[in-house]
Symmetry: C2
DNA sequence: ATCTTTTCTTGATCTATATCAACCCACGGA
DNA sequence: TCCGTGGGTTGATATAGATCAAGAAAAGAT
């Protein structure tokens, strides 16, 4: 619990240093939250009101494409999570989040965060840099998905996040990689 | 020229209002720039030092995938442009920018912008919201490229930016849509 | 205006990956 | 202990779109 808040603070301060009293106040708006495996966090069609910090476990973000569940991304320890799109635009979310393991999170409500942005420049700065970081990550992934074949994408994921294969099911990984479970299965066979 | 700055200011103020004197100072760092068609703005491998505002014309961003030039995106009147990734990370850019028409731009140097972020909270806020806007646009495009077939992507572009077909060559549009020029040509035939 | 170069079109194949279908395996509940 | 349900595998077939190749048209260059 203390460790959770310490992790959160450290994470924030990689982007923008906070004064002791700024942090003391900011901290009061973050609420810890423990969830068991397989819990829905955000549902499609509702506006995302929270911004999440993942302290322990894995959260999966996914959307529906004609009935099929397709994974958008995974958040691990130290990541932020949530239907950030909807959180920003205040439009109903087109995707949802669920826990794939037991998780420990902290979350802050949109309105509280906005108030903090208004009040503290250091937090506003954190917001700017956080968005920048997301942007960079997303543009990397875009290049990734555009420039590589299914097989290359698979190899690269095996390389970069082998642990993922332990944590979530094949079908979720497959949809994340933009291929069918069958194709993924065949690729894995090839490697073995 | 006055119109250019007015456009820039309006654009900025859709995200964050500036005081008269804040704008007066901020404005001094933005330098207007006219370029003819076909000019390289940023080259691969160099760090992007500028952030661009497009007042007139079209700028194309592209990368190289085994020798082939693939378009990442286009910026029109009122958009911002530049190898934003590299601008943020200060790493050498993996893509480059060129004008596809005559253009009128204004640009600000990275260091000046950083100083402005430090000095004015309203500009820091603009930075945060600008990043958020980019993020939203990018996540939309990601969904776009992932959930639709080549034909659907084409139809949607025809719908949303028909003018683009006048402004840039088929091959650039094709690579932007993630298909070969041949495929694009066949799709266009289908529509006619 | 003529020549050259580039872009666009069209047709014939080829290939990666999807789709459909059957089967196996592991695990949780009765 | 047996059964059912969902995830994973494997095989056969289908298909969107790529690739290769060659001609037509448009755009620059001299």
């Amino acid at each position: 619990m203390d460790a959770l808040f310490q992790g959160l603070r450290d994470q924030i301060e990689t982007l923008s240093k906070l004064e002791e009293d700024e942090w003391r106040e900011f901290k009061t708006y973050w609420k810890p939250l423990s969830l068991e495996k397989g819990k829905q966090i955000t549902k499609i069609g509702q506006v995302e009101d929270y911004f999440y910090y993942v302290y322990e476990g894995v959260v999966r973000g996914y959307a529906f494409k004609d009935g099929e569940d397709i994974s958008i991304g995974f958040s691990y320890k130290g990541d932020y999570s949530g239907a950030y799109d909807s959180f920003l635009t205040r439009n109903p979310s087109e995707w949802c989040m669920e826990t794939t393991t037991e998780v420990e999170l902290a979350r802050i409500h949109h309105d509280d965060l906005m108030r903090m942005f208004d009040k503290y420049k250091s937090i506003e700065r954190w917001g700017r840099l956080f968005n920048a970081k997301m942007l960079i990550g997303m543009s990397r992934r875009q290049v990734e998905s555009r420039s590589y074949t299914a097989e290359e994408r698979f190899d690269r994921l095996m390389d970069q996040s082998p642990h993922l294969f332990q944590l979530v099911s094949q079908r979720h990984i497959a949809s994340y990689l933009g291929m069918t479970p069958e194709t993924l299965s065949r690729l894995r066979k090839k490697v073995r």
